[in-house]
Symmetry: C2
Amino acid sequence: MNTAILLSQINQYVTLNEAETSYLESIVITRSFKKNEVIVQSGEPARYLILVNAGFLMTYYTDKDNVDHVVQFASNGWWTGDLYSLAQDVPTIYTTKALTDGEVLLLPKLAHNQLLEKYTKFEKYFRIIFHNALIRLQFRFIENYSTTTEERYLAFRARYPNIEQHVAQKYIASYLGITPEFLSKIRKKLSRG
Amino acid sequence: MNTAILLSQINQYVTLNEAETSYLESIVITRSFKKNEVIVQSGEPARYLILVNAGFLMTYYTDKDNVDHVVQFASNGWWTGDLYSLAQDVPTIYTTKALTDGEVLLLPKLAHNQLLEKYTKFEKYFRIIFHNALIRLQFRFIENYSTTTEERYLAFRARYPNIEQHVAQKYIASYLGITPEFLSKIRKKLSRG
DNA sequence: CGTCTATTTGAATGTACTCAAAAGCGGTGG
DNA sequence: CCACCGCTTTTGAGTACATTCAAATAGACG
């Protein structure tokens, strides 16, 4: 089992001893996936926190008019998973799908809770992880209010240069909150100007 | 010093013993404020996590074109403060201002760090707080993509019925990400139809 | 090669914005 | 207590950004 990425992720913020490391390794599940495979299906309760070990994933939700909206692209070292569904045991509205072949580590809900209870170091780790995720989401939020769509597309390309090659433009449009047609027009404008 | 709200806030998620309670009480600072007073000024590094004890606050940031965008209204029992500025010691882009007379409890940055180190129960508490804040922000995010502006205004009114009376319409418009003129037109339409 | 899906292009439409002016409202001083 | 001042809200006209719908073109993959 390849937990190197998980451990280096965690050791950025806390220093795990042997007991903590081996306990963690004993409870995570490795799962490999193929391109286009669905890792988490909306409508079912979320069961895992997911860490991407290799490859690319995207997560989208389906609104009441049956339109998909991409909310996250995830690669190497990124956590994903529906915290709300995990906490409340309600069906998740998110679907997570593979953009490439790859591998994830699954941390089952129950194991996660036990981990927090058994070693407070993981309380600290997840406190920091949630803290950082909150800051990033706040940043994305205010970016939406103070930049044009064109600027946001350029920022996206700058921030995730290696994602664009794996994902259809319509999903990038969805992530940016615009239609594929309009993204196509922005790209045309940029290539001319 | 009135720490009742703080303690009941925290005891929703963890159970503090006497040592933890009295330590916490020894490090928070009470500060009362008047309507229109600025609690935190953008441009300076954030120094406190802030819990509202009484009254209403709003937090907004000022973008590169000098336009204000309201990001949060806070009342009784709500935390506020710029996590990024606190963590990185950079100037905050947010200004926090009083909408009414009231009182806040201030948790200084250093005291917060000491609290986390000294009692791991607070790691758990803040892990949960950040976790919940993240879920709420994710929800707000997807709401923006899948509802009309009119629906968002109605949802806002339903969610914060007691805030509308304290705050100028232009700030609600700002919170919703629209111009005051457009909110006025939405309201006219709603009152007719 | 053919089929299916993604992307591009264009025309018509709609949603929200800008700018300007009028009306409403609250607080302050005479 | 009322009149005035400054700020907020309303209203309207014109405009810009982004959407919808439809059709043409390009690409991917069996």
